[in-house]
């Protein structure tokens, strides 16, 4: 449900500015031009936060605030004062009435969002439909680690990807970096001195801009106490040293909702290839499964007539992989595409052990498979070989 923000100000200009500031967030901005209207609207709508001007006709902000705090049904609504009054006495007088914060006019929109974001959980309006980054896009990862050699290791371990590894060694360095450039993910060494990792995590979660950036903790594998503390605090994931880079890659991709389909699916001249990497694990199989139907449907849309499933690089095959291959066959049948399999001896041997896959035939390479005419041998099942679009 959208948040409700009530802005109470006699200046229509200020109400317009407030509405504009929150337009990219999932919230509804309600307006009142004086304290009387503000109280009525607050009682009716129960907003999540009230932005309140001081100087207004009919009923000023001080009186409205006093009445809000005296009403049991309204007193818990947080209030931020928006005021041109910055005098110490005025601020103290208002603060005693129980406001959460105050903003002196003129103000930057970012300040308004930052301060409101500390009180209510502001989320971007299009968070759910925001475009995911692809594997070929640049991903910025900030590593907070006081040992430069670790930063260097991570850079080298992920060098095959379009990921930029930025290294800082302190909390201050992290905050400065995030002011200039928002990373897609932050990895913090849990062994920073004086519990620095945990203080830094709290700071990142308290600031609106960094509130939703995934944060991983990095710790030695045997340091379970630190790992547990990080998990309890709310770190998104833990990475243990020595670092398994394939595992790190998978975790990062998952945390930032990376579109990894291009790792597995390629469109060639007139066919789609589904590539299963040599180190395919259950997480990767799930990824392939998630994308498969859509990608095969896209292939139909492009006018393709065949799909090649290349399992030739697999070092081992298990029931999960076979299930995936069966699923691919079913989807292709539904869409009247020819599925051609490529496999090595291990894959062929394993498939012969199962009823469903016993009669499957495999080509030895994609080159052999792609030259097959439509309906040629090597299709998943002989009876499917003649199926055409």
């Amino acid at each position: 449900m959208s948040l409700k923000i009530l802005t109470v100000d006699d200046s229509r200009a200020v109400r317009i500015i407030v509405k504009k500031a929150f337009r990219s967030y999932d919230c509804e901005v309600l307006e009142a031009s004086n304290g009387v209207e503000g109280l009525a609207l607050a009682a009716k709508e129960q907003p999540d936060i009230i932005l309140l001007d001081v100087t207004m006709p009919v009923m000023d902000g001080i009186e409205m605030l006093t009445k809000l705090k005296a009403d049991p049904s309204l007193k818990s609504i947080p209030v931020i004062m928006l005021t041109a009054e910055a005098g110490r006495e005025s601020v103290l007088r208002i603060a005693k009435l129980g406001i959460r914060d105050y903003i002196v006019k003129p103000f930057k929109e970012e300040v308004l969002i930052e301060k409101a974001g500390r009180v209510i959980d502001l989320r971007p309006a299009d968070e759910k439909v925001s475009k995911a980054k692809r594997l070929s896009d640049t991903v910025d990862i900030l590593v907070v680690e006081d040992k430069p050699i670790i930063i260097d290791q991570i850079s080298k371990g992920l060098a095959h990807l379009h990921w930029k590894i930025h290294g800082v060694s302190t909390t201050g360095g992290t905050i400065d970096f995030c002011q200039k450039q928002m990373p897609d993910l932050i990895i913090i060494s849990l062994s920073l001195p004086e519990d620095g990792a945990f203080s830094l995590f709290r700071i990142l979660r308290a600031q609106h801009k960094t509130k939703y950036v995934p944060v991983f903790g990095l710790a030695v594998k045997t340091d379970t106490e630190l790992q547990q503390k990080a998990q309890q605090l709310g770190f998104n994931s833990i990475v243990t040293k020595p670092i398994d880079f394939a595992d790190l890659e998978t975790k990062v991709a998952k945390a930032i909702n990376l579109d990894t389909s291009e790792r597995y699916f390629t469109y060639d001249e007139d066919y789609l290839t589904i590539n299963l990497p040599h180190n395919t694990n259950s997480y990767m199989l799930t990824e392939v499964q998630n994308y498969m139907k859509g990608k095969i449907a896209d292939a139909v849309d492009k006018g393709f007539y065949k799909v090649i499933l290349d399992a030739g690089r697999l070092q081992k095959i298990d029931m999960e992989t076979i299930k995936l291959m069966v699923q691919a066959k079913e989807i292709c049948q539904d869409l009247t595409l020819t599925l051609i399999l490529v496999g090595n001896e291990a894959v062929k041997g394993e498939c012969r052990a199962y009823e469903e896959t016993r009669n499957w035939t495999f080509f030895n390479s994609v080159d052999e498979a792609k030259n097959q005419p439509m309906g040629g041998s090597g299709a998943a099942q002989p009876e499917a070989a003649e199926i055409e679009l």
Partner: protein
């Protein structure tokens, strides 16, 4: 001709600094445009005798450093340790440009829309003079602002009461002159 002295603790340079800073702060923060301070001058008060001589004659058009046709003037008063009023003079075009930048609106929605422009300029005055007021309070001159008001017209003058310090500050933005006319005196 008599010049009314500034209240103690506020020198001419200090007043100029705090006014220019307040104007700059407002326009860069809320309108997103640079504003250039050009100069300021103290407006001298005519002697009582001279004013009496002119009483039967229409006052001469005051020499303002901006076009006087089609002005939009935002005024806001302040009272407390200092009593005074400040006026921000805009031409119609400048008023509309400032409104567009301030509210993030398109010119087609602003042009000719007096209600929106008046409200925007009232808030411009509120925030700009509010900032000046807050700085003055740091020097011990606590004041409160009145609600802003807007005057529209051509070829009019605003004359001050006796015994006030009056100073005008010229700025340039959107290739036009913005005039801030401030007059005040220390309360007895």
């Amino acid at each position: 001709m008599k010049t009314t002295a500034l209240p103690e603790k506020i020198s001419g340079e200090r007043l100029e600094a705090l006014v220019t800073e307040a104007v700059d702060r407002f326009f860069t923060t809320m309108v997103g445009t640079d504003v250039l301070f050009m100069n300021s001058d103290v407006v001298e008060e005519k002697a009582a005798a001279q004013r009496d001589l002119e009483a039967d004659e229409p006052p001469p058009a005051e020499e303002l450093p901006i076009k006087t046709k089609g002005l939009v003037v935002a005024a806001v008063g302040f009272c407390g340790e200092l009593d005074g009023v400040a006026y921000l003079y805009f031409t119609e075009t400048l008023a509309e440009n400032v409104t567009c930048g301030f509210l993030g609106m398109e010119m087609e929605d602003v042009r000719g829309n007096h209600e929106v422009v008046n409200d925007a300029l009232g808030e411009v005055a509120n925030m700009t003079i509010g900032t000046i007021k807050n700085t003055l309070s740091q020097f011990g001159y606590e004041c409160r602002l009145t609600v802003p008001s807007i005057v529209r017209g051509s070829n009019f003058t605003i004359q001050s009461a006796s015994g006030v310090h009056r100073q005008r500050f010229q700025f340039k933005l959107y290739q036009e002159v913005l005039l801030l006319d401030m007059m005040f005196k220390k309360t007895a």
